[in-house]
Structures are given as structure tokens and as C-alpha cells.
Amino acid sequence: MMKFLTIEPVRVLLYLVGIIAFTAANAAYLVLAERKGAGRIQRRPGPNEAGWAGILQPVADGIKLLAKQVMVPPGTDSLLFRAAPLMVMAPPLLCLAVIPFGDTIVACNLNIGLLFVFSFGSINVMALMLGGWASRNKFAIISSARVVSQNVAYEIPMLLVVITMLMVTGTMNLGEIVRQQAGGFWHWNLLKVWVNPFMPVTFIIFFICMLAETNRAPFDMAEAESELVAGAFTEYGGMGFGVFFMAEYANIVVGCSLATILFLGGWQSPIGVLSGGWFGAAWFLVKLYALIFTVIWIRWTFPRTQFYSLLNLSWKILIPVSLVTLLLTGVMMKIL
């Protein structure tokens, strides 16, 4: 039986189904988690009518969205308009293929995993831009312009941080990066201050950029409801809107997984016990969801920033600081 599971086509099929199921379940239930979290922070119980404690709420929402008519408004570029939801959902699914959930639990152990994630991650921006542009709606177009300028601004510090990490780890293989962080939390890249005293700062920069890249509050200028209706998704109804919404959460999962792998030691146990195999996957998920809940917590704590302060933060603070850490890492690696 186990032999059968390891035949290549069967393995690929299993991972395919697993990743799609993981993404869909996360997208559906993170919406509920988000609403519950928002409720707790505002001292409400959150949705609690559908099923026990609201556990069926995503199902109810899904049925509602599926039952709605998918409209293509007149005057839109109907091909791009239909393609945008597909393009926004595909990259996170692809990225999850190279993310190692455990020592051996990875769909595709790619040597250039890190590069792969970043190259496909940027398709997401293009999809949002196309969706907004194809909608032929002024709010959607403003939102597209914002998405592009925001992502250009935040891609730079993010990649600078990633280059720093590359210099430290010396490999783009995500599994290898995690393996280097074995042996307790003081070996995690987050706390490798002997390599670079600014390592925690790098993590914070990465996290902030991840928030901005996934268009999460307080950087959700792309769908600033109060000024842009629903941003790039203004003209989408029914499941078209639902897919954009789910893709946002899928992207958060990918971003947080990457942060876990790069900085928090992926599947490594923090104190050396209960490591390996399925325990590793459990550790990975614990770290992943801790980060995701921080993302939700941040959303319900801070108000949306203004657009110019968003760009100021990137160009005046994050980029200089990440350049300094890059240089410092280079210098320290040369000296030590």
C-alpha cells in the first residue's frame, strides 16, 4: 500500500488534491477566523448562528455566493475580466507546491523554491491590476494603480530582505533553509544575531512587506471600502468576488509559510523535542497559524494608512534599513 502511494503519478495527484483542499479549507475558515477574531477584539462573539458557534458560516457564505448570478458588465474586456479571478487564485496554489510542510512532506522539492515563490507571487499583483482594468470602472482603475505602486514599493525591501537571507543561508531550496535551522529556537534565522545583529529587524521588515504585498490592513489601499467601494473587485459579483476574497487568504497562508520557513525554522521544534515526521508538520502549522493570527490581530488594531504615508514608510524607512542590513550582513560575513 505504502509502495503504491509513492509511485510518482499517484504522489503528484495526492499532493494536488491535498494542496487544493488545504487552500480551500484555509480560505474558507480563515474568513470565519477573521470575523471571530474581529468580534473578540471588539468584544462581540462574531458569527455564531450557523451551526455550533458559527462553524457552518463559510458553507452558508459559499452557498450564497454560488447562488448569485455572475455578471459581466457591458463594456468590460470580458476575456480579461473572466481571467483575472483564475490568475489571482493560481499563484498561491503553485507556491504551496514548493513549501515544505515537514521534513519529507513537500510536493516538489525544488532547488530554486524561494525564487519560484517570489516569481509566481508577483502574478497576483498583475491579476488584481487586470481585474481592475478590465472592469471599466473608475474605482477599480484607481485601485489597480494603487495596487501596482504599492507592490512596486514593497517588493524592493522584501527582495532586499530575501537577498540578505540568501546570503546567510546560501541556498534557495526551502527545505535546505529549514534544515540549517535545526536544534532549538536559538538556531532560527530570526535569532541568528551573530550573523547579523539586525536579524529581528529583518523579520519585521519581511512581515510588514508581506502585509503590504497581500493588500492586508493597514495597507489595504487596493480595496479601501470607504473610498473605492470594493477596489479592484467592484464589478465582480457572486463567486467571482468570492475567488478574489479567498485568494487574499491563500496569499496570506503562502506569505506566512514563507516567513515561518525563512525566519522561524519551518518544521523544526523550538526546543528539540517532538521533532521530525508528523510532529514537524504540526510545529509548522502552529507557527504558521500564530503568524496568521497576528495578521488578523493587526488588521483589527490599526486603521488604514494614507497612501502617501504608505509609500513614505517603504521608500524612507524600509528600503534604507533593509539596505543597511544587507550591507552589514555582507561585511560581517566577510570578517567572520
Binding site: I41, P45, W297, I298
Partner: protein, 183 residues
Amino acid sequence: MSLFSSISEVFKGFKSLLVGMRITAGQAVKPTITVQYPHQTLKMPDRFRGHLELTIDPATGQTKCTACGLCVRACPSDCIDLDGLKKEGEKRKSVSKYEQNFTQCSLCGCCVDACPSDAIQYSKDYNVVSFNRDDFGKMDLFRKAEIKKQDWLKAHPQPPAPVVPPPPTTPAAPAPAPEQKQP
């Protein structure tokens, strides 16, 4: 701005973010304060003003209203319509029809103040809905009082001998109604 002041500003800003997150985390662990409305309801405060209702004398189970008409005259919006009749063997008149036009009532309280026998008060009923305009235009308070009389009879299986109605007293503040239980 010098380099150092801008650096210290970044640190201050970052610290303020952490303070904000600590505050929301602190709120998140406190108990929720939501009233799950259709399942739970709040007790209305004593001064809540709903539509009028005729009070029932807890001793006799009868309405206290003597159909004197003072409330009709006191009402600035002219929205009370009542009628009374004299029952066999009773000294006073008793009310036989009491309609309030709740669409025009300004809840000013003149009628409650004017009543010499404490016969009307504000109900604590805020769930008033209907498909029929007349349910508000001619809100039949007498019928509602009759229903309450039936309840009173059920609660007191042997009605006590009719007692002499107490002399009219000076109007007092309306007695607090019992907590409203909604389905």
C-alpha cells in the same frame, strides 16, 4: 530634521504600534458584552416610554380607570379616545373602550400625569410591529387590559370579594413594569 530625531521617531512610532496591539489583545480576552437580541433582551429602564397601557389593580384584577376623561383633555396631540359605562352594583364608572392613536402620540407624558387614579402607565413593550396601520392608529388598550385581566384571573383562581375602590390618590410615578420576556 536631523538623522537622529527621525530615527527616534521611527522607534517611537513602532512602540506606539505595540501599545495599540497590547490594548486590542487586552480587550480580546475580556468577556463579550453582546446581547443576543432575539434570544436575550435587555430589561427596559423604569423611565422607558412605550405605548400607554391600562394598569390593573393587583387587589381586584380590574382596571383602575374611571373614564373621567382628564387624560383626553390633557393630551396635546388629541390622540386618546375612550368611553366608559356604569356597571351594575358599582359606584364608579369603568372604562369600556380606550384607544390611543400611537402614530400621533409624542410620548409627552401629560396623560399619565393628569390621571387622578393612576390608571395608565407606559408599557415597556418596544417590539411593536404590525401589517395593519390601525393596530397603531387605533391601538386598543382596553382589549390588552382585558387579556391582562384574564391572566390575573388565572393567577388568582378564587377571585376575592370585590373591594371598595381606593380613593383617587395624587398621581405618582408609573410603577416599573416587570421585565419583558420576548420569545
